[in-house]
Symmetry: C2
Subunit: 381 residues, 2 copies
């Protein structure tokens, strides 16, 4: 296989969370009931007003190409949202709307990372980040996070002339940790490009939540509607880019994406109109699940990574099984029909852990905890 | 600016058709009426059953992530469509559904073209092709098409060990020409990778229309719902890839796109159920406009490229004005509020031409012809 492929494609790894999802869907089609805790996907339905505004836009014939950066009405609404929530002023001209955040991430990395140069990725972090670097033929610089204490100040040791940038993600997938103001301020002052993946914003259950743009106006920000707004399958995301990159971002987007779906952009405006209500509701639900899950894990005697205060993930320590995280995930899926994501998907540092997504009902969490108890018990026997 | 940018982004040119559209929309917001003949966008509304099935899918809660290759029901429907229309058998496993064809094009080029290697692009052809090659740091090999006769057999002169692939597009944007069976068979036999961009399929007004897969089963095919199905803003496209590339395509898609919007995928199934009706209707409408426009141009004494038998474009020869095609387009937009695309957007070989899209009413075509007559007359005075 490899001999057919250009170098950039040879190290692209599957996104294992999606692989597990696809395998679980296959098992389900064979008549079994699967407990899904693998994918970062809220089980809360999208707000009815959002759905209805999509229907209305579609019925009004809003299904033509839009401006490649997105309809101005949505970009203005995003600008107002950042002003109201975070007190930062962003021009709608700096915003590019796309079909989810994933293609934008590729564009952002491609604007910063020259082939052969280095990019700092926290370990563990979102499974797809290394693949952006690999595709662009950059070099990954591994920044090993510590489990019980945040060690961002150690990042300075990794900086040298060959480093193009750093990506941060707070609240974090897969650890659920949230950067403090002090940490965010420190990172914003590093003399490199920073991409701040803010896709889990809105889902912070303890303490404040701040955009990097409060500390630095030339950061690249990624955000969207999938997580806090429960709109995964709508595929609606956006990036905020420094002014000097707007012209080239627009060209790249015209060529490689054209524009996000039109009626979905109109639904995005409605989502922002209702943001307080939507986010408050989501926070309340996820926070109660978080407490329930963390309590349950403690009772069983299972450890987990750090201090999960945001997003909807817990990285559970399964090292006691003495198996690889992929083997543990396969065992849980095939034997218990429980779909989870192996820690290794997020970096070597999370090997021996599995990631649980608590974007599922308390009832399901109870079932999952019961499975973990059985796994723990049978291991002790 | 350039010094900030990685090499791959330095030669990315704006997609001028989109630039003209964006400028025209700006003029329109100032209260003027613009005649749009710039973008490849059908003015026919999407079929009501398609719209309604999207609404239904959305109301049924079909808004979660799907399999990264797309829902199996749509991939099966696409497979059946290629079997019924073209008598070719494609496994649903070889199909990847995405948010329009543009991101798929980037993936296809990235699978074939190693950095520094060559890729053959017909000149003129779709404006974005060179940007895929530039982004991947390949070298463009320019294959100059001839105006009145098709000269594909000359392509063999360009083949050498450094050439990775060739892209073809029939019916063609911007010339409207359609490859004959003989030409398609000849091209399919070339000893290089071939991407066949079949996005204008369904819109061939004279003669047959065949997929390259009739002649070669390891070609890369790009197709989608934007053009013949009038679903531009839905952003729904697909690629058919050779079996040995499926695994890597799936990984790339999981990482860089995740999946196409869910409810839009369900609407795609409905579109294929009604394909005969939808395509026949579109063909009838566009063909009558094509005849009207070509007749009108002949009457005015304006020449055009080749033999436009498909898609909805005519490349009109404006060399008599002795101006660059960009200047001509700007003049038509600012003076007559007529939006067209400059030929140079499609390659040096189309300089001096402008591209008209006849995806607009006969009434508008009449107005446009009137403008051309005035331009011609004032030039003669």
């Amino acid at each position: 296989m490899h001999k057919y492929l250009p170098r950039r494609c040879r190290n692209i790894k599957p996104f294992i969370a999606m692989e597990v999802l696809e395998r679980a869907q296959f098992i389900e089609r064979q008549g079994k009931k699967v407990l899904y805790m693998c994918v970062g996907e809220p089980d809360i339905p999208p707000h009815p007003a959002v759905t209805e505004s999509l229907v209305q836009a579609l019925r009004e014939g809003k299904s033509s190409y839009t401006h490649s950066l997105g309809i101005i009405e949505l970009r203005e609404a995003i600008s107002e949202y950042y002003l109201e929530r975070y007190k930062v002023s962003i021009s709608p001209e700096q915003i590019v709307v796309s079909s989810g955040t994933s293609p934008l991430m590729l564009l952002m990395f491609s604007l910063i990372l020259e082939k052969g140069k280095k990019f700092i990725l926290p370990n563990p972090s979102y499974a797809c980040y290394p693949n952006y670097v690999n595709f662009l033929e950059g070099k990954i610089v591994d920044f090993k996070l510590k489990d019980k204490e945040q060690n961002y100040s150690e990042i300075e040791k990794l900086l040298d002339k060959g480093v193009s940038g750093l990506i941060i993600n707070s609240p974090s997938n897969p650890t659920g940790e949230v950067l403090s103001k002090k940490e965010l301020g420190y990172l914003a002052n590093l003399p490199i490009n920073i991409i701040s993946d803010e896709i889990y914003h809105g889902l912070t259950y303890e303490g404040d939540e701040e955009t990097i743009l409060r500390y630095r106006d030339d950061a690249f920000v990624i955000n969207g509607f999938s997580k806090a707004f429960s709109m995964t399958g709508f595929r609606l995301g956006y990036a905020i880019v420094p002014k000097r990159f707007v012209r080239v971002v627009r060209s790249l987007h015209q060529n490689f994406i054209i524009c996000a779906p039109t009626f979905v952009q109109w639904a995005g405006i409605t989502a922002l109109k209702h943001y307080k209500e939507i986010i408050d509701e989501a926070k309340k639900i996820f926070d109660s699940r978080r407490r329930f899950l963390l309590d349950g894990l403690k009772k069983i005697g299972l450890g987990y990574w750090g201090n999960p205060k945001g997003a909807f993930y817990v990285l559970v320590d399964m090292k006691f099984l003495g198996k690889s995280s992929i083997d543990i995930s396969l065992m849980l899926l095939e034997r218990y029909n429980l779909a989870v994501t192996p820690g290794i998907d997020f970096g070597t540092n999370a090997e021996g852990y599995i990631r649980l997504s608590y974007a599922t009902s308390l009832e399901n969490l109870e079932k999952a905890l019961d499975i973990f108890q059985r796994v723990k018990k049978s291991n002790n026997e």
